[in-house]
């Protein structure tokens, strides 16, 4: 795994791009270096399956990319909404099942169902944020917890559609003419890069400014005409849509969906991944979380009971460790406020 390029600081700092233009030449040099590093890193990721021949590691990395997108969605909610969700596994599941069901009933592949999955996820997110739109974030957290616990029940009950315990398979090729294992690697990778790039654009948009203003001062934002309830709804909808995209790609790259992979633990682990990646929304940063989530269970396959302990310890260590850092360094690691 040493071939994975994870520039430690470039990862999270990338999300804080529009900083004041002080010390211009130094910053410019650093930025150029960072860009070079990320291009090199991407190049390595693109070439990797061609070198390694597309075996087991290619498959695992594909799942890593899909998980990284799901982790980005949790980070998005934390950064732009200042809220924590412990039910994001549900939106991931919404995306995954959309892909599987579209394939089952309409016979269409991932490319057709991906936009639909994002739409379904976004709508679902909006519906669940609606009742708590005026309230503090704890209500959203509790509601999402209930959502995560309710999902397996619903999936098992509607087994005619969802396939029950066994779940559904995703078999159709998305890109005809390419080897299956390469598709399962490249599509999630492309998805991750596109999501990260779109989020960088989003950071400069009006909507992002409004969301950040709400986080900084709700009163100031209200007086500028930004409604808090709207911010809450749009933030949740965007985050859930990203999660659904991650879920759709996850279903494609692991080629199966089942209720077992979307329990409350899935959602909590996504949050752990987001914390471990310092809520980063860049490719490299979120990959840290994705790799952590995907590889740890594989490495510790013989010691299943240690996994919650390990995840919990990692979460506490990162949260407490970041908190113990000097304020200046912490602000840089977290990439400013958003």
């Amino acid at each position: 795994m040493s071939s994975l390029p994870i520039p430690p600081h470039a990862a999270s700092a990338a999300s804080a791009d529009p900083q004041a233009p002080q010390a211009a030449s130094l910053a410019e040099g650093r930025q150029r270096l960072r860009r070079l590093a990320s291009v090199l890193g991407l190049l390595v990721l693109v070439l990797l399956p061609l070198i390694s021949g597309g075996g087991y590691w290619t498959f695992t990395l594909g799942v890593c990319f899909a998980n990284a997108i799901a982790i980005i969605s949790v980070s998005f909610l934390v950064r732009y909404g200042g809220e924590v969700s412990i039910g994001h596994g549900v939106f991931v599941a919404a995306g995954a099942y959309t892909v599987a069901i579209v394939e089952k009933y309409l016979g269409l592949s991932l490319l057709a169902s991906l936009p639909l999955a994002a739409l379904v996820g976004g709508l679902l997110g909006m519906v669940f944020a609606f009742p708590s739109r005026h309230l503090s974030g704890i209500y959203l957290a509790v509601a999402t917890m209930a959502l995560a616990l309710a999902l397996p029940e619903l999936l098992l009950h509607f087994s005619a559609v969802s396939g029950g315990y066994e779940g559904l398979y995703v078999k159709l090729d998305a890109l005809p003419g390419m080897a299956k294992n390469l598709q399962r690697y490249y599509l999630p990778l492309v998805g991750l890069v596109v999501v990260a790039l779109l989020l960088r654009q989003f950071r400069r948009s009006r909507q992002a400014m409004a969301l950040l203003l709400i986080r900084t001062s709700a009163h100031a934002a209200e007086s500028f005409g930004v409604r808090r309830s709207w911010a809450r709804l749009s933030c949740m909808a965007l985050s859930a849509a990203i999660a659904a995209i991650g879920g759709a790609l996850l279903a494609f790259s692991s080629s199966t969906v089942s209720p077992n992979s979307f329990t409350l633990w899935t959602s909590i682990f996504l949050l752990v991944g987001s914390v471990v990646s310092l809520h980063s929304m860049s490719v490299a940063g979120s990959l840290v979380g994705g790799v952590f989530l995907t590889l740890m269970p594989l490495l510790l396959a013989g010691a299943g009971d240690w996994i919650p302990i390990l995840y919990g310890t990692a979460l506490l260590a990162v949260v407490l460790g970041v908190n113990a850092l000097p304020a200046k360094l912490r602000a840089r690691l977290e990439g400013g406020h958003a």
Binding site: I86, L135, S136, I138, L316
Partner: protein, 292 residues
């Protein structure tokens, strides 16, 4: 009609257990502004400890002694959980709430590691007694639950209304800054509320176990009902938590009997969403302004 009465009675019994869990969550939230998502895992570990001390995993001591030892361990565990996240508490509510999930994961892992993920049964040493009161079947278990809940709520009321630490707790939950200016020790009040919450959690989890089985996840999922009860009550009202607990207990019982028993968590979800829409400040509406 007799069905209905029996269901309502059973709902009140289990609802008072949800209420005890909810009171713990609310106590912690009121004093330290942290939603303790580890609450269910900690309470579940306590039930397992009692099992371990009575059934021979660690020792085979009498039930009362085992409960006492467990209570001591739980006081330590709650204080330890608080001190783990203590550096975060005054800085960010969000981060400290996330950190409680880390505590919960660790506790869950410890439970699985020590006791495995098998289902065990843990009974209360209660006399086998039952009485028929009109259409109602009343068992010694029902009376034990109601008695313990009444005792716990009564003691808590006295503690909060009549003692110095109780007054300090009320002051801190009203205005932490002013209480600090007056020389109150905020950390002390926080630890107090965490420990009391933990003790209530132990009582609730021990009493809920005879109705379900004890597995490494069962008590944690019982806590979803406690969270729902807290939401129904408005999340920062102690009387609201009691009302919410009994409301959730009765409602869940009726729904699972008259509609279908396989959707328990879905009912809780729908109830939470409806209550948030209809009574955003809780059914008793004693909540202060929303925290921004």
């Amino acid at each position: 009609m007799s069905d209905l009465l029996g269901l309502v009675w059973a709902g009140i019994v289990s609802g008072s257990l949800y209420a005890m869990g909810a009171i713990g969550i609310v106590l912690i939230y009121k004093s330290s502004n942290v939603v303790n998502f580890a609450h269910g895992n900690l309470a579940g570990l306590a039930a397992f400890l009692v099992f371990g001390f009575t059934a021979g995993t660690f020792a085979s001591i009498p039930w009362v002694a085992a409960v006492l030892v467990t209570l001591v361990i739980m006081v330590a565990a709650m204080a330890l959980s608080y001190f783990l996240i203590a550096p975060l508490v005054f800085k960010s509510d969000l981060t400290s709430t996330i950190a409680t999930l880390g505590v919960g994961l660790v506790v869950q892992g410890i439970t699985q590691l020590m006791f495995g993920s098998n289902v065990v049964s843990l009974d209360l040493p209660l006399p086998k007694w039952r009485a028929q009161l009109g259409p109602l079947q009343i068992t010694s278990y029902d009376l034990a639950v109601l008695g313990v809940t009444a005792l716990a709520v009564g003691l808590l009321y006295l503690l909060i209304e009549r003692t110095r630490i109780g007054i300090a707790f009320r002051a801190v939950s009203q205005n932490p800054f002013a209480s600090r200016v007056c020389g109150l020790n905020l950390r002390g009040v926080h630890v107090f509320s965490w420990v009391v919450a933990g003790l209530l959690g132990v009582a609730a989890s021990l009493l809920i176990v005879p109705t379900t089985f004890l597995s490494s996840t069962s008590v944690a999922s019982f806590m979803l009902q406690a969270f729902a009860a807290a939401v129904v009550g408005g999340f920062s009202s102690l009387p609201g938590a009691v009302v919410g607990g009994i409301f959730i207990g009765v409602l869940m019982n009726l729904l699972s009997f008259y509609v279908s028993a396989e959707f328990n968590n879905t009912y809780v979800l729908v109830t939470i969403l409806l209550v948030l829409n209809a009574f955003p400040k809780g059914v008793l509406s004693i909540r202060g302004g929303a925290r921004v």
